[in-house]
Symmetry: C2
Subunit: 266 residues, 2 copies
């Protein structure tokens, strides 16, 4: 999905909601087996329940890898089930030397066939550029993350600016707003204004709403640009809103609430 | 494998060689099918050819993920084939918010059953600590990597010291030399003396010998400590030393040369 298509989808659905499929077998409703097959069936139910109100799905690779090869197969089947109607993010936080990053890009863009992957910037240019070389695919680089640990290195003062600002500036020069996004946590609302001065046109993938406590109103007011420029992710607060037989209905309702609030900001 | 066992293995074999299984189907000798099964058979041949001269194997997850779920299964089968005689590293460069890092730790330590995993430090303490909570498992955190891109962020001057030195100091306080190692590229030999002043006792995983051009002599002289404290990785220069039918024999000879040189430094 290219930038024009993504923006059109957001405008049509009046939503910039991304549903995070961080599916933990231990948290499935009682009617599901705690197996790879159970995870797939749960994902299908959540996708059915939320596809009309969200524009993107984010697959957190860790939860599938913890099920081994069968978990990887569930990830593949989940991507196939979503189809082409939504922007699909592999939240994988990869990045390595050039020839290895190229293998990761092949794994996610050519083999798994997602639209985008999250990448850590620590190793620099040759760890990120291989991802940017795939046409119509997106690289989503960690900027300022939502967790407490962001203070350890991302906020270190480097030559007069926090590390994450160096990341935003330098990585921006390696790609364009057509193939590059940044992760900025919703818990970092105070920084959104300065982030938008560095990256006025890039889409931002914003986790940290819901279980992590970020405010949808805050980040929408501070970080929306003329093309919306936001994908706001919610995982646990939708997936596990109910652990009973009504989980899909409740997930649909919760996703609908986020969409309705988003519509008021558009 | 714990620290005492690792040191004993190194002393007994007079080797601190790690063979990197960055197995690319496109580079297999002609007698192998370019399939997941071909990759597994090649890995088994390389393991047979090098097990007597190396103490560790490093599995580069990117090369397996690019084959999808079947690739992940080959990774599992490769780990099983290596068995308990060698220290096994998943070179995965993972790291995410706490509950996700815990899932990655489960994936690699409990499910895949490797001894160690490489982790990116960008997201800070809560992204690394979940890995450190698994008994008798090791977390290998990126310090100063071997690639050109290391200059982009790892060498940024942050409050008077390069970023990677902040990483070494801060991450050292979260674990101990019994469960924590650092990645330092062999191409960064000028920095090994200062790195050893920060981390005198930690093992260092050193890639960058061979195809990337680092010197085994340099890093051995500058970075060895009283417990050796080094695992030096070679991937392409062993795996693909010959692309003919004699590939295993040539791989064994190349690994033997590295081991023989290492023995002179011990």
């Amino acid at each position: 999905m290219n930038r024009a298509q993504l923006i059109q989808t957001i405008r049509e659905k009046r939503s910039y909601l991304c549903v995070g499929l961080d599916t933990d077998p231990h948290l499935l409703p009682a009617s599901f087996q705690r197996t790879p097959e159970g995870v797939l069936r749960f994902n299908q139910s959540i996708i059915d329940a939320t596809s009309s109100t969200c524009v993107a799905y984010k697959i957190n690779t860790a939860f599938y890898e913890s099920l081994g090869a069968q978990g990887w197969a569930v990830m593949e089947q989940t991507v196939q089930y979503i189809g082409n109607s939504h922007f699909i993010i592999a939240d994988a936080k990869r990045g390595d030397i050039g020839n290895t990053s190229h293998q990761y890009a092949t794994a996610f863009f050519s083999q798994l066939k997602v639209d985008s992957i999250t990448v850590s910037p620590y190793m620099g240019e040759d760890s990120i550029k291989p991802f940017l070389s795939f046409p119509d695919k997106w690289t989503i680089v960690l900027g300022l993350t939502s967790n407490n640990g962001a203070a350890d290195f991302e906020l270190l003062n480097c030559e007069g600016a926090p590390l994450y600002e160096h990341v935003l500036r330098k990585v921006s020069s390696w790609g364009s707003p057509d193939n590059l996004m940044f992760v900025v946590g919703a818990t970092q609302a105070d920084s959104f204004t300065s982030i938008r001065s560095i990256c006025p046109n890039h889409f931002l993938l914003v986790p940290g709403i819901g279980a992590q406590g970020g405010s949808l109103r805050d980040i929408s007011q501070k970080a929306m640009n003329k093309d919306v420029g936001l994908l706001v992710n919610v995982s646990r607060a939708i997936l596990y809103a109910s652990s009973d037989a009504d989980f899909a209905e409740v997930a649909a309702r919760e996703a609908g609430k986020y969409q309705a609030e988003m519509a008021t900001y558009l």
